[in-house]
């Protein structure tokens, strides 16, 4: 049963520290999405990759956030320095291009708390 995996599942850190979240997309999927979910803002798209190339990161605060795909099996989202307002659940999702008709497969999320 293929699944998207995310690590860590929970992270508590202090303001100013670097946070790295990792995602392993489903093997064979060529699109990867990073989302942030909060009660106030709902589900926000942070970054989108296709064939490992970043195509859209317009929703991501550029000064402190960065997203990369070092290889097809790993996507990373980094926050440096972290701030309390970054506290949220971060989801990674993967899918197939399929002309945009493919559904997304979401990981279980990383719950981040910045003190």
């Amino acid at each position: 049963d293929a699944r998207v995996t995310q690590t860590p599942r929970h992270k508590v850190t202090e303001m100013g520290q670097e946070v790295t979240m990792r995602c392993q997309p489903i093997l064979g999927h060529n699109t990867v999405f990073w989302y942030r979910q909060t009660m106030m803002q709902g589900l926000e798209l942070l970054a989108y990759f296709r064939n490992r190339a970043p195509l859209d990161d317009s929703g991501m605060p550029k000064d402190r956030f960065s997203a990369e795909m070092p290889d097809a099996t790993l996507a990373t989202l980094k926050i440096q320095p972290s701030e309390p307002r970054d506290s949220a659940v971060y989801f990674c999702a993967s899918g197939l291009t399929s002309g945009g008709s493919s559904e997304q497969f979401f990981g279980p999320g990383t719950r981040l708390t910045v003190l």
């Binding site: 709902g42 589900l43 999702a93 997304q104």
Partner: protein, 116 residues
């Protein structure tokens, strides 16, 4: 530009009764439409999608949705609700027209509460 609206933050229904979770969309061309469900402390799970063809789409867990082009709606339905259906439901749309994005736009979600 593509957009989607879920007009109800919360829907309450008694177990055994039919349920409807509403979704309306705005696109410049034809839409691709999706429903996802999120259980507590879990990621979103795909339920069903409309791409083309039959306006009535059947999905997982007994859910179905009807694409209505004239009303620009894609409401999620189930004939008989279960307590275990209680979750957060998201509608998403992708516009195939010139004003669309390759990336689907998600609604804010509707919390479905099924009472025993």
């Amino acid at each position: 530009a593509q957009s989607v609206a879920q007009p109800e933050d919360q829907v309450n229904v008694a177990e055994g009764n039919p349920l409807t979770v509403k979704c309306t969309y705005s696109v410049s061309g034809n839409p691709y439409l999706f429903w996802y469900v999120q259980y507590p402390n879990r990621g979103l799970q795909f339920l069903l999608k409309y791409i083309t063809g039959d306006n009535l789409v059947k999905g997982s867990y007994g859910f179905e949705a009807e694409f209505n082009k004239s009303q620009t709606s894609f409401h999620l339905k189930k004939p008989s609700a279960l307590v275990s259906d209680s979750a957060l439901y998201f509608c998403a749309v992708r516009d195939l027209g010139s004003g669309g994005s390759y990336i689907p736009t998600f609604g804010r979600g509707t919390s479905l509460i099924v009472h025993p």
